[in-house]
């Protein structure tokens, strides 16, 4: 931020903040993010509480739940089915299909690239007749609610660069994550919870690493980094009082601290002290709002049943889905679940069955639950990973076993709600689910489209850093895909 911006921000805060109820009474505020105050003083739907004063377009969504399947879930075994695959099973991948595609160091030396049809049954679902695999029956039942994109693509062919690219718009570290961008730009209507929450679960499959940068704030102020809700220990790091300190004792401490801080403000004239007092208060509120949020005891049994047997089991994808819904209900704009274990280089048929068992019922329940609560209309649910997998087998293809390598040239993701079309399929791949034939959607196009649904023009959503107007969607020429939006 250049000095002039800081100046403007500051004066704006003085005008709005001090003019309203006095700063101390308000929620979070800091020199670098003054506009939170703006939100607190205006409840209009057409305004953000972040750095952007308001949306560039009329938004169709206010929040996002991103179900990120880490490791490269196989689009072939879940969504992108072509009956012809049964015929090509066991045959060599033709050069005309591979078309000089670079492949990873793990299979680049393979002499033979035998194609493998999914070892699962597929059937058509919904008005649209989209194919779904038997291993995701519940997601299949969402056919009429979702936009299924079969033509997502990325340049990256390995996990670290690919997962960094889809989450931050760049394969190299240092850029803010999508959630951090949105927290910075949109802010959050909920002053008692973080605006960007991350939850991690792990399946039994091969687990690739995750990195703080995937939910990091990059060059944006660090307050916008995703806050992890954790299954063990404190739900939010450092949330609990130390042993021996009760809530009323803490209250007494904070009151004392605030009294001295207020005196300090009078002595020093430093307005930032008001923000510090407010942050201590928000921390105090989080100590109740977070435990209340993650406590599922008020969820009725039939809701728990929807999410499946793991719903009450901390650290599972199902449990995290339910918490995601509760966060969205409370207005939290960006919730991201990372489910690990989708890297099936070998033993794919068995592993992917396990992985889909983890997510199928809860992901579908989440969409249905949001829908029945009227939240789906302005909440986007996104589901997918950093890339797909190859049609050809990695390692030996046997009667009932094989692996698949990474594949970034095309893969499938789905979106539900928040202005995305319902019962819609977009993008077409060849019979090998290897190349896109129609309507490619680059990962940055997808991000641009999600921003568009949130009312944000990705080209105007910039932060000046190292000489460039940096943006989530990178420097190439990403485009919104209007066809995906209703």
């Amino acid at each position: 931020m250049n000095p002039l911006d800081i100046y403007q921000a500051h004066t704006r805060r003085q005008m709005i903040g001090l003019g309203a109820r006095g700063l101390g009474a308000l929620g979070a505020a800091s020199l670098l993010n003054p506009s939170i105050l703006q939100a607190a003083t205006s409840q209009s739907n057409n305004e953000f509480s972040g750095t952007l004063p308001g949306p560039h377009f009329k938004p169709t969504a206010k929040r996002v739940i991103y179900l990120f399947l880490s490791g490269g879930p196989s689009h072939i075994d879940m969504y992108d089915y072509h009956p012809k695959m049964r015929e090509i099973h066991g045959t060599e991948l033709p050069d005309s299909i591979r078309n000089g595609q670079r492949i990873t160091g793990m299979t680049s030396g393979q002499k033979s690239f035998p194609c493998v049809a999914p070892m699962f049954e597929f059937s058509r679902h919904g008005q649209n007749g989209s194919w779904f695999s038997e291993i995701i029956p519940n997601i299949a039942s969402l056919a009429d609610d979702i936009t299924l994109v079969k033509s997502v693509h990325t340049e990256a062919i390995n996990h670290d660069p690919a997962i960094t690219a889809i989450n931050t718009g760049s394969q190299q570290p240092g850029k803010p994550s999508m959630g951090a961008w949105l927290d910075w730009g949109m802010g959050s209507p909920n002053q008692n919870l973080p605006g960007y929450v991350v939850m991690i679960s792990k399946g039994k499959g091969n687990a690739q690493a995750l990195y703080d940068r995937l939910w990091g704030s990059g060059f944006l102020p660090s307050k916008h980094q995703g806050v992890k809700f954790r299954s063990a220990g404190d739900p939010v790091l450092y949330l609990s009082n130390p042993n021996g300190i009760s809530r009323d004792m803490r209250r007494n401490m904070l009151d004392g601290i605030a009294k001295i801080n207020r005196a300090k403000k009078m002595e020093s004239g430093d307005l930032e002290i008001d923000a510090r007092i407010a942050q201590y208060e928000m921390a105090y509120r989080m100590q109740t709002s977070v435990p209340e949020l993650v406590d599922l005891k008020d969820e009725p049994q039939h809701v728990l049943d929807m999410y499946g047997k793991d719903a009450m089991k901390k650290g599972t994808f199902a449990h995290n889905c339910l918490i995601a819904r509760r966060l969205s209900e409370r207005g939290v704009p960006f919730v991201q679940l990372f489910h690990r274990g989708w890297d099936q280089h070998g033993n794919l048929p068995k592993q992917i069955r396990g992985q889909t068992q983890d997510i199928d019922q809860p992901a579908a329940a989440l969409v249905k639950d949001l829908k029945q609560r009227g939240l789906l209309k302005d909440t986007i649910v996104i589901c997918g990973g950093e890339f797909g997998r190859t049609i050809y087998s990695q390692g030996k293809l046997t009667k009932d076993n094989h692996g698949r390598d990474h594949h970034g040239r095309c893969f499938s993701m789905w979106m539900a709600g928040g202005g995305f079309k319902a019962g819609f399929e977009y993008g077409k791949t060849d019979d090998y689910a290897y190349n896109i034939l129609e309507n490619p959607v680059h990962v940055n196009d997808l991000n641009a489209t999600v921003l568009r649904a949130l009312g944000i023009d990705h080209e105007r959503f910039t932060y000046k850093y190292l000489g460039l107007d940096q943006r989530l969607t990178g420097v190439e020429h990403p485009k919104v895909i209007p066809e995906l939006l209703a």
Partner: protein
């Protein structure tokens, strides 16, 4: 009407809104119009000129920017870069005022700047004040009075050392009435270790320092010797030019010292990968790109990286010039594929003088014992001859089948000199024990080795087996546990699709890989049965060269095994440059815990009978069975060794000492420390540089080789400079370089005043910010260079100024005219860096461990943070204990994919990339850290103990002392009252529920003084925590 300055007012508009299409980039240039060059901007073309001085009417640009026609208006609406009304008005004024043009200020030579004359000469302590005063006058502002001594000393302590003054130090200063009392404090601080630590912390951000490798597995590495080099450089006030040259090219300096080589590790701090599927060249290119970016940002404030894929849109750097700069870095010898286990070459072993002496002593002792052993052999030669005769005649003919033919290598692993041992066949001493692997005195036959701590034994110049030729190999092995796995030995290159072979174990079973490319062109087969554990077992493989698993046999203790085939197709070479290693593959699959003895390689497939003989034989009989004259020298040596080691008592005594010396030496060597350094490829392997089209590693434009050079808009490299990194470094640090000094003093200003003079410390190009004090910046830069790049001198000048010593109180004049304090009419007041927030708590509580330098430490952090994100859950955080919990925060082990959350909450960057300016945020997470983190709770407990054990006995005295420790000031009445109320309240709570005090006091490892009443201690712990959480404690005022 305001006077418009081109550089301050106009260039930023043109750059941000126009240069994209009308700037330096030729490819994206529209209408052949350039607005970054004066000549072009005013040139008449087809009757039009973009700008005509003093004439709006004739300035085509004016018509375009004010046009209503969407096809005419500039910038075009689709660019979403509309000019604001204010910007349009500024351009109008500029044209009307004569459209004066200036070159970009930061690219112009630093000129002599005269110290301005000002009215308030009493206030001026040094030229900094004159420049600040001049600006204040222009803005209608007035400097603030000098701040009180208590505030001043605390301020300068934090700014120069990141630590608070003690009450004694404050008191000394208050009582020192000499005119240079303050200067004495400053001098003392500048000479302290803590100053070096404070400065190093800033440099760690810039140099993307970390203790892990970032990408994929984010495994450990050792770069702290480099970090310690930086500490010492700051401590000794190394001039900035030397500091820079050694870090950029220390390895290339003539007769480079060890320290200079370590310094060059600056450019090995970047992220590296170990991900199995990567294309190595892609990442090697990334590393070079990172070095270019970091060098550009840090030394020149240039965003060179913007010209990787196309010409720079804003600054005059073409893509070709980018690759000329890139060429300086394109010959470092480190590979694209690096490791998840420690350092990757080029690296340097660090040998401290102490270590060197220990090593020398042991080596000398080893030599001495060896010669004693030889002497004994000579002395007792007749006894040996007698034994030999008897043994030969007693040889059991049935058991002594001849040594199978075709033996090509035989490592008895019995005798080590200087950690080297012999291959009896080739009779070379080329087998070297490495790392923590150790010699064991008693193995299957005589000595052997044990693999520990990822150590290994490397066999040089041997082992090129081929896929289409028969071979056999094996060894005696003792495995430590059930389901054991890894490579007993291997000659294999994991980085090249695992090419090579191994003697392999998995889940306790025995087998091998023979690989051209894994898994497509490879054999892999293992036994169905497991090998026995904890006993010496003979493991052996034979292969007939047919490229099939059916040509392989696996033997355990001479018994042929049933096999389970996993890969069965091999048709191409398995030869690799990587050496044969015992105890691992080249870098992976370590068999820690395994003991190995008597390794043999044959150039044919042995028969079952032959393998059985090997599995039953002792090492002596086959040799005895050979006619004496036909025995090789090495075989004779085995007999001698066998006799003396097993039969000759005087020899055995010396031998025992020798073994123990060997072990000590091996142990010492296994604690080897390295640091990664820069090192260019050898002259005959220099890589050529090409422009990478669209910046893509796989698209070099081979039509033209690119040679190293610097961008044309900057001064050319002097003729006598070599066109390599050393030449580049010297060019950067040339006195005439317009950027280096400006960029550097700007960062020092930021370090001391909390904000730089140029708000974009990493971008001094046309998109960068205009300095708040342009003349001051020039003066500081010139002064810095003219005084030999003396860092302490420049820093001292800043803290000695009146500008620095002002009060930080914000007054209404400030709020009206300069609310964010750009112009220094008051001292800044800001929150301490995260590291200093923690260091302050540790210092105040008396827990701080002031040890200087050394490896990163792992203080308290919540459990599970590494494992929940690490690859297959394999990286786990293991907290340190004792004194390591209380080191200064810059020593906190920096795992870059999951850094310490307490510091991250306070804006410490991840350091995955170069960071020149930290954010300074204020969040609820920070409150949770300082209130609830075990580290801070423990510090509060220790602080409370310190207060209660101090000489202060009344509540009021205690409060004064505690506040003085934490804030530099005694507590006033209001503060005392607030805390006394809290004290009463908390004490009552603790009294009502005694468990509470006990639970609170249990937090943290630091010992507790049991003589203090628990409720009293707990209540004071709460008060201490409150004090540590006060705004005035967390801020530098």
């Amino acid at each position: 009407m305001a006077e418009i300055s081109f550089n301050k007012d106009i260039r930023p508009i043109l750059s941000n809104k126009c240069f994209f299409c009308h700037g330096p980039s030729e490819k994206s240039r529209k209408a052949k119009l350039r607005l970054d060059l004066e000549e072009e901007a005013f040139k008449e073309k087809d009757g039009f000129a973009a700008f005509v001085r003093n004439s709006l009417e004739d300035s085509e640009a004016w018509h375009r920017i004010t046009s209503d026609d969407p096809d005419e208006v500039m910038p075009p609406p689709k660019f979403k870069k509309e000019l604001t009304k204010a910007e349009i008005n500024t351009i109008k004024l500029w044209i009307e005022q004569g459209a004066t043009w200036e070159g970009h200020w930061a690219f112009m030579p630093v000129k002599e700047t005269k110290e301005p004359k000002t009215d308030l000469s009493r206030w001026i302590r040094n030229p900094i004040d004159s420049f600040v005063m001049e600006t204040l006058s222009k803005k209608g502002l007035h400097p603030s009075p000098e701040t009180g001594r208590r505030t001043l000393i605390r301020r300068v302590y934090f700014d120069l050392t990141g630590l608070p003054p003690t009450p004694e130090e404050i008191n000394d200063f208050l009582l020192d009435h000499s005119p240079n009392a303050y200067e004495k404090v400053v001098n003392r601080l500048l000479a302290s270790d803590a100053y070096a630590e404070r400065m190093t912390l800033v440099w760690m951000d810039a140099s993307r320092y970390g203790d892990t490798s970032v990408f994929h597995d984010d495994g450990p590495r050792d770069m702290w010797p480099w970090r310690d080099w930086v500490l010492n450089a700051y401590k000794n006030n190394m001039p900035f030019d030397q500091f820079s040259i050694e870090q950029l090219a220390g390895d290339l300096l003539p007769n480079a010292t060890e320290d200079q080589k370590i310094a060059s590790g600056f450019n090995r701090n970047h992220a590296t990968t170990d991900e199995g599927g990567v294309i190595a060249e892609e990442f090697r290119v990334e590393y070079v790109v990172d070095r270019v970016k970091t060098t550009g940002n840090v030394w020149m404030g240039l965003t060179m990286e913007c010209a990787q894929c196309h010409d720079h849109k804003y600054d005059p750097i073409s893509q070709e010039e980018y690759f000329q700069f890139y060429a300086f870095y394109n010959n470092n010898a480190d590979p694209g594929m690096q490791t998840r286990r420690g350092n990757t070459a080029p690296m340097l072993e660090i040998v401290t003088p102490d270590r060197k002496k220990q090593l020398d002593d042991l080596i000398n002792k080893q030599k001495e014992l060896s010669s004693k052993m030889n002497a004994r052999k000579k002395e007792a030669n007749s006894q040996f001859a007698k034994w030999l005769k008897e043994a030969t005649s007693n040889l059991d003919e049935n058991k002594s089948v001849l040594e199978p033919s075709g033996l090509v290598a035989h490592l008895p692993l019995d005798d080590f000199t200087d950690n080297k041992t012999v291959d009896l066949v080739r009779e070379t001493n080329s087998c070297q024990l490495q790392g923590k692997a150790k010699i064991v005195g008693q193995a299957k036959f005589g000595g052997g080795i044990k693999i520990e701590g990822n150590g290994f034994l490397e066999v040089k110049n041997f082992g090129n087996l081929e896929h289409n030729k028969p071979f056999s190999y094996g060894a005696w092995v003792k495995i430590p546990r059930d389901n054991f796995g890894g490579a007993i030995f291997a000659k294999m290159d994991e980085g090249n699709n695992f090419r090579g072979y191994d003697l392999w174990m998995e889940a306790g079973k025995v087998g091998l890989h023979v690989i051209n490319k894994w898994p497509s062109n490879a054999l892999k087969v293992v036994s169905k049965a497991k090998a026995p554990i904890k006993k010496w077992t003979h493991l052996f493989i034979t292969y007939n060269g047919n490229g099939k698993v059916n040509g392989v046999e696996i033997y355990i203790d001479g018994k042929k095994q049933e096999k389970a085939t996993q890969q069965d197709s091999l048709s191409q070479t398995i030869i690799t440059d990587k050496p044969l290693r015992l105890g691992r593959r080249f870098n992976t699959a370590q068999t820690n815990g395994a003991e190995i003895d008597d390794v043999r390689f044959y150039s044919r497939a042995l028969t079952q009978q032959e393998v059985q003989v090997l599995s039953e034989s002792d090492p002596i009989s086959p040799i005895l069975a050979i006619e004496e004259n036909n025995r090789t020298k090495a075989q004779k040596e085995v007999l001698v060794t066998h006799y003396f080691e097993s039969k000759d008592q005087p020899y055995q005594q010396i031998f025992k000492q020798k073994k123990s010396t060997d072990k000590s030496l091996a142990d010492l060597r296994s604690k080897k420390l390295t640091s990664m350094i820069m090192g260019d490829n050898p002259p005959n392997k220099m890589r050529k540089t090409y422009l990478l089209m669209r910046g893509q590693y796989a698209s070099p434009d081979k039509s033209k080789e690119i040679l190293p050079d610097t961008p044309a808009f900057l001064p050319t490299m002097k003729k006598d400079l070599p066109k390599n990194r050393l030449g580049l470094a010297k060019w950067l640090l040339d006195k005439e370089h317009p950027l280096t000094a400006r960029v550097t003093v700007n960062r020092y200003w930021q370090t001391i005043f909390g904000r730089p003079l140029v708000a974009t410390p990493g971008d001094f190009g046309s998109q960068g910010s205009w300095p708040t004090h342009p003349d001051l910046l020039s003066w500081l830069a010139k002064d810095f260079v003219d005084h030999g790049w003396n860092v302490k001198r420049t820093i001292k000048q800043m803290v000695m100024s009146s500008t620095y010593r002002q009060e930080s109180t914000t007054r209404s004049e400030h709020l009206q005219k300069d609310p964010t304090n750009l112009y220094h009419a008051r001292a800044p007041r800001f929150r301490l860096m995260g590291e200093f927030v923690r260091d302050n708590a540790l210092a105040v509580s008396g827990l701080l461990n002031r040890e200087f330098g050394g490896a990163g430490v792992k203080p308290y952090q919540p459990a599970g943070l590494w494992v929940e994100v690490s690859l297959s859950g394999n990286r786990r955080f293991a907290r340190d204990k004792g004194e390591k919990l209380y080191r200064r925060s810059l020593y906190t082990y920096w795992k870059r994919s999951a850094p310490h959350p307490g510091l991250m909450a306070f804006d410490t960057p991840t350091r995955e990339t170069c960071t020149l300016q930290r954010q300074r945020t204020n969040t609820p997470m920070q409150a949770l850290v300082t209130l609830n983190d075990e580290q801070f709770v423990e510090a509060s407990r220790a602080f409370a103990q310190r207060i209660l054990k101090s000489s202060a006995k009344t509540f009021h005295d205690r409060m004064n002392w505690a506040f003085e420790l934490a804030t530099g000031h005694p507590a006033d009445n209001l503060r005392k009252e607030v805390l006394e109320d809290a004290y009463k309240y908390q004490k009552e709570k603790f009294a009502a529920e005694p468990n509470r005090a006990e639970e609170l006091l249990k937090i943290g490892e630091a010992p507790i003084d049991a003589s203090i009443d628990a409720n009293e201690h707990a209540s004071w712990t709460v008060l201490a925590s409150m004090i540590l959480n006060l705004d005035e404690t967390l801020n530098r005022e």
